[in-house]
């Protein structure tokens, strides 16, 4: 039972027509790859930026004003002066992530070498910013205080000169990271829903039954869905990568574009196969919708595109390896940020290929059975 490319091609063209017939789908695809990517990359920065800080200055001295003045954009918003009784409501409502409390007689205590205490209240529910931001504030206070103390007097010299350099993204721009990760998440989300739902629709409308009596094999039907829906998403994703991520967000694309393209195509196939696999486990669109959402959120959040993957428990890391997304995220980060070549990223590509084959085979086994049994 050979695979006839002509059939695969024709059935795929049919998928493209179907897609065109539903304008809302096209609108959502464009929205996801333009506006959603842009707003995520620019607005949802995880780095310490624009963080709201309040300050309770009970000293009102030159030093305390210097400290308040040193809390600068872009890391922080200008510090807001607060009364002591405004601390709790301000933090409870989430208006401030940090509040500095400078005690009375602060300046004179510093000058007298009594080492007064500055308290930093940290909203520890703001996990991404609390830790890093607190250490920034600490540095600001310390350097202002010691600068104020030592008018020209040599500071304590460190025994070594520590130089920290950040490779691949020297200024820690989070757009670089978020833009590309948003692309990946969109590819996953749109492809899984589109291909899976396309199969359920055929089943609900009885068209799949019609196809199965024609000289067309299950494999041909599946591959047609994968290539057609995949093609649309890959083309839009690459355009978006070029225009939105590279053009608008100014993210440099340092790695090999053909290599990235090849990886993306492979990934696209794997998630399309995942969509079909999920569809073979559900009978109706309603069930599919409820199954697909948790899967997508897990792929989105636990693949290293949102949080550092190595901080997950080991068992979860192992579980996530059966999903294609972690491999692709690590591939994309390698190629696009670190300019890694094929010799470095082939293991991820191999994993993707293996996963694709598995998904596809299981779907193929379930295909006919799922279609006839869910009627």
């Amino acid at each position: 039972m050979g695979l006839r490319l002509a059939n695969v091609f024709r059935l795929g063209i049919k998928e493209l027509y179907s897609l065109r017939a539903d304008p809302i789908l096209l609108v959502m695809i464009v929205y996801a790859f333009t506006f959603a990517v842009y707003s995520t990359a620019t607005g949802a920065k995880s780095e310490v930026e624009n963080v709201a800080v309040g300050i309770v200055d009970e000293d009102d001295s030159e030093l305390s004003r210097r400290i308040a003045g040193a809390i600068l954009e872009p890391l922080f918003r200008p510090a807001v002066q607060l009364m002591p009784n405004e601390i709790d409501p301000g933090m409870n409502s989430g208006r401030f992530v940090f509040v500095l409390e400078i005690p009375p007689k602060f300046e004179s205590d510093v000058l007298a070498g009594r080492g007064p205490t500055v308290q930093i209240d940290v909203d520890a529910t703001a996990l991404t910013q609390a830790g890093v931001g607190a250490s920034y504030l600490q540095n600001i206070i310390e350097s202002e205080a010691s600068g104020y103390l030592q008018h020209g007097e040599g500071a304590i010299t460190a025994p070594i000169n520590l130089v920290t350099r950040t490779a691949f993204n020297p200024n820690h721009y989070s757009e670089w990271f978020l833009g590309i990760m948003a692309e990946i998440n969109n590819i996953t989300m749109l492809t899984v829903v589109l291909t899976g739902a396309a199969l359920i629709r055929e089943r609900e409308h009885g068209t799949i039954e019609h196809l199965l009596v024609m000289p067309v094999t299950s494999a041909e039907i599946m591959i047609a869905k994968i290539w057609a829906n995949g093609l649309v998403i890959v083309v839009v994703a690459i355009l978006s990568l070029w225009c939105v991520v590279h053009g608008l967000l100014r993210v440099p694309l340092v790695g090999s574009v053909p290599l990235f393209l090849a990886g993306t195509v492979l990934y696209e196939i794997s998630v399309a196969a995942l969509g079909i696999l999920l569809a073979t486990f559900t009978g109706t669109m309603g069930q599919f919708g409820l199954l697909v959402v948790p899967v997508l959120v897990i792929l989105n959040l636990l693949s290293g595109s949102a949080t550092p993957p190595e901080s997950m428990p080991d068992w979860l890391i192992e579980v996530m390896k059966v999903a294609p997304t972690p491999h692709f995220v690590s591939f994309a980060q390698g190629v696009l940020y670190r300019a890694a070549g094929f010799e470095l990223v082939w293991p991820q590509l191999a994993a993707l290929a293996g996963i694709t084959v598995c998904y596809f085979s299981v779907s193929l086994i379930r295909f006919r059975k799922a279609i006839t049994s869910f009627q």
Partner: protein, 911 residues
């Protein structure tokens, strides 16, 4: 003058550019049976829908029940007096609900009391012979029973105007007869009721009081059947109608003559031997055997649900028989054999072509899939379009075509590739007489001219008579096989129809329990007073409850969906709770020590000893360092230059370089902090050792980690994962549930009954709010007991907040489904919007207050972020109602706003 049921004046209707009605003016008499006859796609359905008030009038006027249907007030007040039964087998029924529940739902929609519903349902079931099956799900009924049930649903509120759109299409003769008897009995009881019926069966039209013949969006004749026959100058209505058609349409039509068949010999084309199909305990097909010769036209007659379609599916290889064997062309059927498939053409009973492709694209697709030679494709497609009179509709999508034209397209596809065997499942259901005759001429040409074997099922007796042989099937068994003449003679009846019904009644009589229609109406129960005047157009909780109750039943009948909706959230919470962690740990670090002295090793030990770093094997060269960073293996690399130790001891401040992987900026930021920390420890150790006086730092800094002293991720991720889950799942459920009604056609009940938009939406929303809240309670338990995240603040506020938030989330789903017309679009839109906004802009990954730019506005304009404040506030910050009431208020505004928007967008009338 006879009273008028409906008056139509200069009515025109367009679908895009296609004209459905063209300046129609007609007066329809009241208190009688009015038939609408005419070919497919001449505007019969449109006219009925406009009179019923389910479609918006574009041009012209419709006056029904003494009022203008353009006037919304009149339309609202007359909806309770009109019953509308749309085209298609049981399209307005709910397949998972039982017969009784379906009827009960309709009764509730009309504000009937419990006792009133009970006696009405009992009466209708008895009258239709459905009384043995009140507990059977509607989806498991046969086509004829579905139509009867659908009729019962229309009649439950004693309408004054009953509008039936092709009610008997696809229904077997016995059920059809029972159906009309039922209508007659109801009319006898309520003589004032006006009935309007569109039908493709002329023998049915024969018994109506008054007929309207339509063609091309216009009315070509009106009058009693006798008048029409006289005007058409023919003895039968069929012929009269054809004669009444304009000259151009009539051309080419001629009576169907079946030339005798020449037997060709050779093995039979189709053989069935003891074919059996069981679904669980139910035997759909029970040891069926027959042989069909090459070039024979073999007809399958039988009641709905008797196993005809299943037998056909087994012959196409779609279903593997449980027992027995099917042979095609003398060889056992192999479902995987592509060559056989090319020799067979199959047409399913329900429309199974692509609604989203045009008629031409559907044909072209199949010409490719069946591998027609390239040079013949275009010609063949064109030939089919002409042959089946589809040229006018070639570039329309089948979704917008009437049933008859869809059937013709299916036929065209089945014969497109010139198969040797045709298996056609009710190919002419819903097709008008002219097109049916033309189709039969084509079939006969194929059979007699090209020796094509044709196996078809039909409900038309005149078609059965044209078959070479007929097989009568009932309850999975073949009752009799023979020519039409033989069967008629065997029963000693006058017509094939009577013979058929006689066979069926015999067979049914043997079965216990099955009562195919009672000869007489059940004795009329005493009819309590009926409160019809109470049907107001104002908000009515009873109607809302009818929808809520029905939706709940549907949820309960689909345990898989229910399970997904309750288990999905738990799985999500567990994985997200364990998986999302901003604790940067286990950073892979390696050293490139070019010094290899005690001093360098001592420095490196500080790194290796830190709990944040995991040591990897040492680096030996610059290129290796670059390669291992590039591969992503290392997150931190420390490079110590040669002579480090010497220079350190000399106090020359040697430089060491630390390389961070910047691919993930958040991690790089944190790692950079760790490196500083390690360096500081090292410095102070050095200082301590070198006995230099330690300098007291000028300021002490005390960090107070509020709300989360341990600074553990779960205290943030668990409360915000609840936010995420409660927007994703409830919104998805409501979005699909309304879009599904649009796709399956049950939305017609919303359009044709007195329920208002707001009642409909709230009714559908309510069960999902309850499901969502149950899901929330399970999440709460998991949060407290599995993750150990207690509610430090006010639990009551959290419960209230979750309730309102679920209301807003389900309302958001309703809003999406109000503007999407397919389930796929609803799922797609819901997924993208809720995941993108819920994950990125609602306080899950970073605080709501740190969003900037557009993202900030998106966050503010969506309910999730506000609920994060409530969830985090009550769980982690220990807050209560007095702190959080503004957020609760905002959520209420969202919930109401979404519902209001959905009500505006969802139109009561179809365009």
């Amino acid at each position: 003058m006879t009273p008028i049921a409906a008056r139509v004046r200069r009515l025109s209707h367009l679908y895009g550019r296609a004209v459905a009605l063209d300046d129609v003016t007609v007066e329809i008499p009241a208190s009688c049976m009015v038939g609408l006859i005419g070919p497919d796609g001449v505007g019969k359905s449109t006219l009925l829908a406009l009179i019923a008030g389910v479609r918006r009038i574009q041009e012209g006027g419709v006056f029904a029940l003494d009022g203008d249907m353009r006037d919304p007030e009149h339309r609202r007040s007359s909806l309770p007096r009109i019953a509308y039964m749309p085209q298609g087998l049981g399209r307005n029924l709910y397949p998972t609900l039982t017969v009784f529940e379906n009827l009960d739902f309709f009764g509730r929609l009309f504000d009937q009391s419990k006792t009133e519903r009970e006696w009405r349902i009992a009466e209708l079931l008895a009258a239709t012979g459905l009384d043995p099956f009140p507990d059977r799900p509607a989806g498991k009924l046969s086509g004829g029973m579905k139509q009867k049930l659908s009729l019962c649903c229309s009649l439950i509120h004693d309408p004054d105007l009953l509008i039936l759109d092709e009610p008997t299409t696809g229904v077997d003769p016995l059920s059809r007869r029972q159906f009309w008897e039922l209508i007659d009995r109801i009319r006898a009881r309520r003589p004032g009721m006006s009935v309007m019926v569109a039908t493709a069966y002329m023998e049915e039209a024969q018994r109506f009081d008054w007929l309207t013949a339509m063609d091309g969006g216009r009315i070509i004749a009106t009058g009693s059947p006798e008048e029409l026959r006289a005007r058409g100058n023919a003895s039968t209505l069929d012929d009269a109608f054809i004669n009444l058609l304009p000259e151009a349409k009539r051309a080419g039509h001629q009576a169907v003559i079946v030339p005798p068949r020449r037997t060709t010999g050779g093995p039979p084309a189709i053989e069935a031997e003891g074919l059996t199909q069981r679904f669980g305990k139910f035997t759909a097909v029970d040891h069926v055997s027959f042989r069909i010769e090459r070039g024979e036209i073999f007809g399958f007659l039988g009641s709905n649900g008797c196993g005809k379609s299943t037998t056909m599916k087994m012959l196409t290889g779609l279903l593997a028989p449980t027992e027995g064997e099917a042979r095609l062309f003398g060889r056992p059927l192999d479902a995987r054999d592509m060559a056989t498939r090319e020799r067979v053409g199959y047409m399913t009973q329900a429309f199974s072509l692509y609604g989203e492709l045009t008629v031409r694209q559907n044909l072209e697709l199949h010409s490719h899939l069946f591998h027609l030679p390239e040079d013949r494709r275009a010609a063949r497609v064109r030939e089919m379009l002409e042959r089946f009179d589809l040229l006018g509709a070639a570039d329309s999508r089948p979704d917008s075509l009437p049933l008859g034209q869809k059937q013709r397209l299916q036929l065209a596809v089945a014969v497109l590739h010139g198969p040797e065997v045709l298996i056609l499942d009710e190919p002419t259901s819903g097709v008008d007489p002219v097109a049916r005759d033309s189709f039969w001429q084509f079939l006969i040409g194929l059979a007699r001219g090209d020796g094509v074997t044709i196996f078809l099922s039909t409900h038309f007796m005149n078609e059965a008579e044209r078959c070479d042989r007929i097989s009568l099937m009932h309850a999975g068994k073949v009752l009799a096989v023979g020519t039409a003449k033989e069967l008629t003679q065997r029963r000693g009846t006058g017509s094939l129809q009577d013979a058929f019904i006689a066979y069926l009644e015999d067979a049914a009589a043997v079965e216990p329990g099955a009562k195919p229609g009672k000869p007489e109406a059940a004795p009329e129960p005493t009819r309590p007073a009926v409160s019809r005047a109470s049907l107001s157009s104002r908000f009515d909780f009873g109607r809302l409850w009818a929808y809520a109750r029905r939706e709940t039943l549907e949820i309960l009948r689909d345990p898989i969906r229910l399970a997904f909706s309750l288990l999905g959230p738990l799985i999500l919470m567990v994985t997200v709770g364990y998986g999302i962690s901003f604790d940067v740990e286990h950073l892979a670090f390696a050293a490139f020590d070019q010094d290899q002295t005690n001093e360098s090793r001592e420095l490196l030990e500080n790194f290796a000893g830190s709990r944040y770093f995991t040591e990897h094997p040492e680096i030996s060269s610059d290129t290796e360092l670059e390669r291992r960073l590039k591969s992503g293996e290392l997150k931190v690399a420390v490079e110590i230059p040669p002579n480090f130790g010497k220079r350190l001891l000399r106090g020359q401040q040697p430089e060491i370089s630390v390389w961070l992987d910047g691919a993930m900026p958040f991690r790089a930021d944190t790692a950079s902090g760790y490196v500083q920390g390690v360096a500081l420890t090292y410095f102070s150790d050095q200082a301590a050792r070198s006995q230099t006086p330690t300098v007291q730092p000028p300021v002490n800094i005390e960090e107070r980690f509020r709300y989360n002293q341990a600074f553990k991720s779960v205290y943030q991720t668990i409360p915000s994962s609840i936010m995420l889950i409660l927007i994703l799942i409830p919104a998805m459920m409501t979005a699909v549930s309304v879009a599904r009604e649009k796709e399956t056609g049950s939305i017609a009940n919303f359009r044709s009954t007195p329920i208002t938009g707001i009642e409909f939406l709230l009714g559908k929303q309510l069960p999902y709010v309850v499901t969502g809240f149950i899901s929330f309670l399970t999440l709460l338990l998991v949060a407290i007991f599995l993750f150990g995240v207690p509610v430090k603040g006010s639990t009551a506020t959290l419960l209230l907040g979750a309730f309102i938030y679920i209301g807003a989330a389900t309302a958001f789903g309703l809003l999406i489904s109000s503007f999407t017309s397919t389930q796929i679009a609803a799922i797609f839109t819901t997924t993208i919007l809720t995941i993108v906004i819920g994950v990125n802009f609602s306080g899950l990954l970073l605080p709501f207050s740190s969003l900037s730019g557009v993202a900030r506005w998106i966050g503010i304009g969506f309910p999730s972020g506000w609920f994060t404040q409530i969830s985090l506030g009550t769980f982690t910050k220990g807050l209560g109602f007095s702190d959080l009431w503004p957020d609760l208020l905002v959520l209420v505004v969202f919930a109401l706003g979404f519902v209001a928007a959905a009500t505006v967008i969802l139109r009561k009338q179809e365009a």
